[in-house]
Structures are given as structure tokens and as C-alpha cells.
């Protein structure tokens, strides 16, 4: 208890950071004027942590009081969170319309020249195409909340997780500096009012993702995974850049305010060609596919789990992977025909939806057989992001065919799913981190008590703390984690009334709606995501049952106990958020708000109870009979068939005498009733083998690389060694010979030098005289 109190004393250091925003509010400042704090403070703090960590590495105060920079990082992110909440509150209460800062920060201003047939003249001076301003609408407000809130909570989690991690002594300042640097990228991308700045911040995130996946860089697999992630997303980023150049070509600007103002009119009043714009948007979409790990650029995300678990939670589940979705969501003004968009780009929506449908199904199938708890979550992330892509694709199609109302609904639903998924998946990863952390510690405790640490490091390789086959029956040992994991899984599965249910229902229902209303090509994605709903129910339940239910499959589970308050607190906060937040926001009209159909989050003039009844009735009994069947099938698959099949195969009763806390007790006893705990049943079929090998995508890509890039690289190496280097070596050896000859002139005698100077001067005079004559 005393120790725990001492831990909380560390939080006193946060007060100066958290006091800034209240002070500004008291001073009567306005929130948008201070929005730059959200990005600027982490920007300053990140290098400070890195440098201070180098200077005071291993120092007692640095390690114990400042948690190797963790407290400073937490302070900076706390300041960003408070400034973000202030901005959001300001937006929701005062001016709910799109806004720009009056005077964006100019960094690349230049003169515009025009050619008038004879020469160049300045048409406009100091013109600034790429100033950094602030763009606020419901979409960026929502993502700003997700980013600031989760960055803060996951940093809190990381303080507990990283500083007690036995592997990396005294290098956590590197982690926190990169973590804070990442947050700059996310906050900046969300707030930027310009596609170019969006791209810059996008790349900052890519860099930090690379650095943090490779945090344990001495592990070969981690270094490999970091490279793989960086190079795979790079493929997408190249296309993104091409897309931006095409957009610039069309509109002569990348400012949201200019581009969105009138998407059908290009630079100089030219009519925008739908084919050209669609190609540009598809290029952007390929960038989004890379960032959000969708088929066929999905291969990096599972490997990215090599990074520390807080990184998986923040970057590879809750924030960065949403960047691609954000980019696609930003395409709406281009395609929204009802609001001045360009008609004739239906294919864009169909392609987005198909990519989403394929990824959702494929990732869910692969998740069936993963035994690594983080890999299950990684595939689940891919699958859920794919849901959102499918929803966005259907929305783009509906918008482009003029059905603004339905498009807005599925658009809002997709964004709402983004919100729910980020909250739930961030929490699930932290819960999995809690499990891994404790299993790891229990393993150390059991096998290495009294051993020296050298030995310790070596034996880490034999034991996989992330393998669910080493777990089981943890529900009674880790009540908070088990509850958080249960709520998160329920939200992802879409159990009625919890979190993701509200948004998933909208996505699936409206994708089918689009199919029923003319989008024949959407049948595939619609069927795929409907099937995936059931599969999600299966693999998420499987993960929970394998980890928390049944009898322990490893003796060390006996030694597991719940982690420090640093790890528990974010789990509790996010549990409440997941359990009630989704429902609450659904009741307050989040879907309408996010799709910009409503300016405020409100009850639409009803009382709270009426609105709850309305929403629940609407979710279970939509007026459209076709959608009613779709909804019921979804619920049947996701809620009944999937989980029960998982319980049948992987479930089992807890050990005699063990008792879970009431919140999860019903689930463990359900698991005991159904379960056979025969884990190996399905593991031997060919399909399971193919899924184990992730459907051979990695092999395929490596094969392609081995046949194309590697021979080319060998040729390039030969060319470099023989042609380029050869030429340089020739020049070098010849000039050495030449200089040996020239050296003879330097006798060292001052008289010779004077003579040479005189002759030289006279020659120059003679030359000038000769030329003039």
C-alpha cells in the first residue's frame, strides 16, 4: 500500500502540464487559438526526453521518479489531451461548422509568376499554397478525441508496462521519445487543413511505427518486422504521393478549403474530368490500403506485433492504422453528387468495398488458427478496419449515385465503428499486454528464482509468453483484465447494446441496402462481411476462452497475479468507455453527427428514455423488412453461433475451487457447460495449415521479391562496383599519377615561386593585351 501511494506521488509532476489549459480558460482565451499546443508540446518534449535519457541514463531519480521519461511523456500527452478536449468542447458548443484558422502558419510561401509572351512578371506575391492551418469537422473532432485520449491512456499503461519489462534496461527513454513523436504525427494529421501536411504527418507516423516495431532491435525478428512494415507501407505511400500530385494538377492546390469548396471545378475554372479524379482518388486509396493493412498490402501488420505491446495497442490498433480510413473518409466531398461532387465515380466505391470485404473475410479466417494472443488481435484489427472500409466504400457508392441520405448513414456508421473499434481494440491490446506481462513475470518467478540475469536472457527464447496454449483459467487470477477483455471482445463481436454493435449493424445493414438499391457488385462484400460477423464471434470468443476459461495448461498460471495500478487504470477507464460509451453516443446521435447530417450531438428533442427506446427499436426492428432479416442474421451469427462454437471447442470449466468475479462468472460457467477443451481438433486439416501460413501471402511476396528485386539488386551491385566505382577508381589513380608530376614544380625555393608568379602575371597581362588588341 505504501509503495502504491509512492507510485501515485509521481503523478504530482503532471500538475504543471495539466494546469496549462485551465489557466488559459480562466484567462478567457479561445480554444482554436491555442490548438497549436496539441502538436507543439509533444514536439518539444520528444527530443527533451531523448536527450535527458542519454544524460541521466540509469540515474536513480530518472529511473524511479520520472520513470525514464514516462512521466514527462505522460505530462505532454496530458496537455495535448486537455487542449484537445477543450477544442472539442468548444466545437460542440459554439460553432459547429467547418472552420479554418484565420492565419495559417506559412512556411513555404512564394511568388506566383506569369509569362506574358515577353517575360515573367509577378502575379501574386507571398502566395502560400501549403500553410499549416486547422480544419475541424465532425470527422476530425472524433479522431482528435480518439488520438489524444488513447495516446494518454496508453502512455499511462506504458509507464507501468515498459518500466517493469525485464528485457530492456535503461533504454525506455528511447521508447517514450518515439512514442511522443508518434503522437505529433497523429494529432497533426487529424488537424491539418491540407493534403500535403496530412502526408507529412502521415510519414512521421510511418517513421515512428518503424522505430517502435524495431524497439527490440537486437532481436532479428523485430528488425525484420520493422523493415517489412516500413517497406510495405512505402509501396502505398508512393501511390499516395502520386495521387496528391494528380490532385494538385487538377485543382492547383491541396488545401481542403480550396479543394472541397467546389470539387467539380478545377484550376482556372476547368471542368474536372471524373476519370482523372477517380484515378487520383484510387492512388490515395492505395496509400490508405498500405497504412491500414488491407489486402494486398496487409502482410506487415501481424509482424508488427514484434513491437512492445503498448505500441501494438496505440499504433497498430487504435490510431495509426485509422489514418487510411481517415484519408478515404476525406474523399467524400469529391464524390458527394448531392453537394457538388463529381458524378461518374461509382467504381471507386465498389473497389473500396471489395478490398474491405476480401480483407475482412480473409483476416478473420486466419485469426481462427493463431495461437499468439497478439496475432489474433492483429488479424482482428485488419478485419475490423476492413469492415469500416466496406462501409466507406458503400457510402462512396451511395453518395456518387446521388443517394445522399443513405450514404450519410453508412458513412456515419463506418466512422462510428472506427471510434468503437479504436476504443475496444486499444483496450484489448492493453489487456493482452497485461496477460503477457504477468505470464512472463510468473515464468521468471518460477524458473529463475536466484539465477543470475545472464541466464535469464538466454531462456526467454524457449518460452513464449504470448502463446495462448501456455495460458488458460486466468479469469480467477486477473479479474480486471478478464473483464476488460470480455467487454472489448463483446464490442468487437457486436454483442447487442455494447459498443461495436451500434456501428457494425449500420455498416452491414446499409451495405445490403446499397445492394438492394442497385449496387449489384456490392453483393460480394455484403456477403463477406455478413459471414465475417459470425467468424468474428468465433475467433474473439476462442481467444477469450483459451486465455481465461478452462483449466490452466501450464503450471505457471498458478503464479499469475494482477498487475500494477499503472496497468489496471487504463483498462478500467476503457472498459467503462466500451460498455457505455458506444451506447451513449448512439443514443445521442453519433451516426448523424459524424456524417455531418446533424451539427450537434443531441437527443433530437426527445427525452433520454424515448431516445433509448427509439434507438434499440431501430437497431432490432428496422422498418425495411429486408434489412430486418439482415440484422437478425448478423445477430444470430455473431452472438449465438460464433461464440457457442468457440465455447464448444475451446471452452472448459475453471479448475475446482477457482471462482471468477461476478462480471465474468457467467461466461466461465457457460464455457464449463459447453466446453470440451479439445484444442487440437481442427488443427490438422490442410485449410488450417494454409491459414497457419497466413494463406501463403508472405511466401508469395518473398517469392516475387526473390525473382525480381534480388536479381536486379545483384545487377545494381555489379554495376556499382564495376562501372560507377570503376570510373571513379580510374579517375583517382590517373590523378594521383598526374599530381606526382605536378609536384616537381614545388621546389620549396622562394625564388622559384617569385619567378613563377612573375611569369604568370606577365602571361595574364599579355593575354589581356592580346585579346584587347
Amino acid at each position: 500500500m505504501g509503495e502504491s501511494k509512492q507510485e501515485w506521488d509521481r503523478l504530482l509532476l503532471l500538475i504543471p502540464f495539466l494546469a496549462v489549459v485551465p489557466y488559459l480558460i480562466i484567462q478567457g482565451e479561445s480554444a482554436p487559438d491555442w490548438a497549436w499546443l496539441i502538436v507543439a508540446v509533444p514536439f518539444i518534449i520528444s527530443p527533451i526526453i531523448a536527450i535527458a535519457g542519454q544524460i541521466w541514463n540509469g540515474h536513480d531519480t530518472w529511473v524511479n521518479r520520472l520513470k525514464e521519461g514516462g512521466i514527462i511523456a505522460l505530462g505532454a500527452l496530458g496537455l495535448s489531451l486537455s487542449a484537445g478536449l477543450w477544442l472539442i468542447y468548444d466545437y460542440l458548443t459554439t460553432q459547429p461548422s467547418k472552420r479554418f484558422t484565420p492565419d495559417p502558419w506559412s512556411w513555404l510561401s512564394f511568388d506566383v509568376l506569369t509569362y506574358n509572351g515577353e517575360g515573367w512578371s509577378v502575379a501574386a506575391s507571398g502566395f502560400d499554397f501549403f500553410g499549416l492551418g486547422l480544419y475541424l469537422d465532425a470527422l476530425s473532432i472524433m479522431l482528435l478525441f480518439v488520438a489524444t485520449f488513447l495516446c494518454f491512456l496508453i502512455c499511462w499503461f506504458a509507464v507501468g508496462y515498459m518500466t517493469t519489462d525485464p528485457i530492456n534496461d535503461n533504454s525506455n527513454h528511447r521508447f517514450f521519445a518515439e512514442f511522443v513523436l508518434f503522437s505529433i504525427g497523429m494529432f497533426g494529421m487529424v488537424l491539418a487543413d491540407n493534403f500535403l501536411w496530412l502526408f507529412i504527418f502521415w510519414e512521421i507516423m510511418g517513421l515512428c511505427s518503424y522505430l517502435l516495431i524495431g524497439f527490440y532491435y537486437w532481436k532479428k525478428s523485430a528488425a525484420y518486422a520493422a523493415k517489412k512494415a516500413f517497406l510495405t507501407t512505402r509501396v502505398g505511400d508512393v501511390f499516395l504521393l502520386i495521387g496528391l500530385l494528380m490532385l494538385y494538377d487538377i485543382y492547383g492546390s491541396l488545401d481542403f478549403s480550396v479543394v472541397f469548396d467546389d470539387p467539380s471545378t478545377g484550376v482556372g475554372g476547368a471542368v474536372v474530368s471524373a476519370a482523372k479524379l477517380q484515378t487520383a482518388l484510387l492512388m490515395l486509396f492505395i496509400g490508405a490500403v498500405g497504412k491500414s493493412a488491407q489486402f494486398p498490402l496487409h502482410v506487415w501488420l501481424p509482424d508488427a506485433m514484434e513491437g512492445p505491446t503498448p505500441v501494438s495497442a496505440l499504433i497498430h490498433a487504435a490510431t495509426m492504422v485509422n489514418a487510411g480510413l481517415y484519408l478515404v473518409a476525406r474523399m467524400v466531398p469529391f464524390v458527394d453528387v448531392a453537394n457538388g461532387g463529381v458524378a461518374g465515380m461509382e467504381d471507386l466505391g465498389l473497389i473500396v468495398a471489395w478490398i474491405g470485404g476480401i480483407t475482412a473475410f480473409m483476416a478473420a479466417a486466419i485469426a481462427f488458427v493463431q495461437n499468439d494472443i497478439k496475432k489474433v488481435l492483429a488479424y482482428s484489427t485488419m478485419s475490423q478496419l476492413a469492415y469500416i472500409f466496406t462501409g466507406l466504400g458503400a457510402a462512396l457508392w451511395l453518395f456518387n449515385t446521388g443517394n445522399h441520405e443513405a450514404g450519410a448513414l453508412v458513412f456515419g456508421g463506418a466512422l462510428f465503428h472506427l471510434f468503437n473499434h479504436a476504443m475496444a481494440k486499444g483496450m484489448l491490446f492493453m489487456a493482452s499486454g497485461s496477460v503477457i506481462h504477468e505470464v512472463h513475470h510468473a515464468h521468471d518467478h518460477l524458473h529463475h528464482e536466484g539465477d543470475d540475469s545472464e541466464h535469464d536472457h538466454a531462456s526467454h527464447h524457449d518460452f513464449d509468453a504470448q502463446d495462448m496454449r501456455n495460458m488458460g483459467g486466468l479469469a480467477s487470477k486477473m479479474p480486471v483484465t478478464a473483464t476488460a477483455m470480455m467487454l472489448g471482445s463483446m464490442s468487437i463481436i457486436g454483442i447487442p447494446l455494447i459498443g461495436g454493435f451500434w456501428s457494425k449493424e449500420v455498416i452491414i445493414g446499409k451495405t445490403w441496402y446499397a445492394y438492394f438499391h442497385g449496387a449489384d457488385a456490392l453483393l460480394g462484400p455484403a456477403l463477406l462481411i455478413l459471414a465475417t460477423a459470425g467468424m468474428t464471434g468465433f475467433y474473439m470468443s476462442r481467444m477469450w476462452f483459451m486465455t481465461f476459461a478452462g483449466e490452466p495448461r501450464n503450471e505457471l498460471v498458478e503464479h499469475v497475479h494482477e498487475a500494477t495500478p499503472w496497468i489496471k487504470t487504463p483498462l478500467i477507464v476503457l472498459s467503462i468507455m466500451t460498455a457505455l460509451g458506444g451506447f451513449g453516443l448512439a443514443v445521442y446521435g453519433a451516426v448523424e453527427f459524424l456524417s455531418a447530417e446533424a451539427d450537434y450531438l443531441s437527443l433530437h428533442g426527445h427525452t433520454l428514455l424515448e431516445q433509448i427506446i427509439h434507438e434499440v427499436e431501430h437497431a432490432f426492428l428496422p422498418e425495411d423488412m429486408q434489412l430486418r432479416y439482415v440484422g437478425w442474421v448478423t445477430i444470430l451469427l455473431a452472438f449465438i453461433i460464433g461464440p457457442i462454437m468457440a465455447a464448444r471447442i475451446y471452452g472448459g470449466a475453471l479448475k475446482e475451487g477457482e471462482q471468477a468475479i461476478p462480471l465474468v462468472h457467467w461466461l466461465t460457467s457457460l464455457s464449463g457447460k459447453f466446453g470440451s477443451q479439445n484444442v487440437d481438433d481442427l488443427a490438422n486439416s490442410e485449410l488450417a495449415e494454409a491459414l497457419q501460413q497466413r494463406l501463403y501471402f508472405d511466401d508469395l511476396y518473398e517469392g516475387i521479391l526473390a525473382r525480381t528485386i534480388v536479381p536486379f539488386a545483384a545487377f545494381a551491385a555489379w554495376f556499382d562496383a564495376n562501372v560507377i566505382d570503376g570510373a571513379i577508381k580510374q579517375i583517382e589513380s590517373k590523378s594521383v599519377l598526374g599530381s606526382i608530376q605536378i609536384r616537381r614544380v614545388t621546389t620549396g625555393s622562394a625564388r622559384d615561386y617569385i619567378l613563377m608568379a612573375a611569369i604568370g602575371t606577365l602571361s595574364i597581362f599579355a593575354l589581356i593585351w592580346g585579346v584587347n588588341a
Binding site: T747, G748, S749, A750, R751, D752, I754, L755, A758
Partner: protein
């Protein structure tokens, strides 16, 4: 009144003497003297120019150049002194430190 061209001609002759002396003699003091001769040949040129154009500028340049030459001689002699104290010679053929 002597014509300006005569004065300039004297300057050229003096400059030539100084130049030949500077690269043909071994004794550093003689070389220094030759350099002074060349400087003064240049001064004569200034004077000739001033006479020709009827302006005072050339006189001023000549006066400044004489002052600078005096300072330069002081430095040159100081270098020769330290050369002699370290190398025990003032022959330019033996003082070839620049080569290395």
C-alpha cells in the same frame, strides 16, 4: 617639367630590375631590397598617373603605399631574424620549409 611618360618609363625599368633581382639573388636581405625597389617603381607609376591626369589621388596612393612598405619592411626583417635564429642561414635556397 618632366613628362609623365618618362616617370612611368623609369618605373618600368626599376620594376624590371627589382623583379630580376628578386628571383636571381640568394640572399634574403637583397631580395627584400629588390621587393622595395618594385614597390617604389609602382609608386612612381602612381605619381606619373597623377601628373598626367592633374589630380591629387595618385599622390595620396603613393604616400599610403610608402607607409605600408615601411611596415612591411619591419615584418620582413623580423621574419629574416627569426629565420636566421632557427635555421642559421638567410640563404633562400636553403630555407625550403614550404616544400614540406
Amino acid at each position: 617639367m618632366i613628362a609623365a611618360s618618362w616617370i612611368a618609363g623609369l618605373g618600368v625599368i626599376l620594376f624590371g630590375i627589382g623583379l630580376v633581382g628578386a628571383f636571381s639573388r640568394k640572399n634574403a636581405i637583397v631580395v627584400l631590397m629588390c621587393i622595395e625597389v618594385m614597390l617604389n617603381a609602382a609608386n612612381l607609376n602612381f605619381v606619373a598617373g597623377a601628373l598626367h591626369h592633374g589630380s591629387v589621388d595618385g599622390w595620396v596612393f603613393a604616400a599610403i603605399a610608402i607607409a605600408i612598405a615601411a611596415a612591411e619592411v619591419a615584418i620582413g626583417l623580423a621574419i629574416l631574424l627569426s629565420l636566421y635564429s632557427t635555421q642559421e642561414t638567410i640563404s633562400l635556397d636553403e630555407a625550403t620549409l614550404l616544400k614540406h
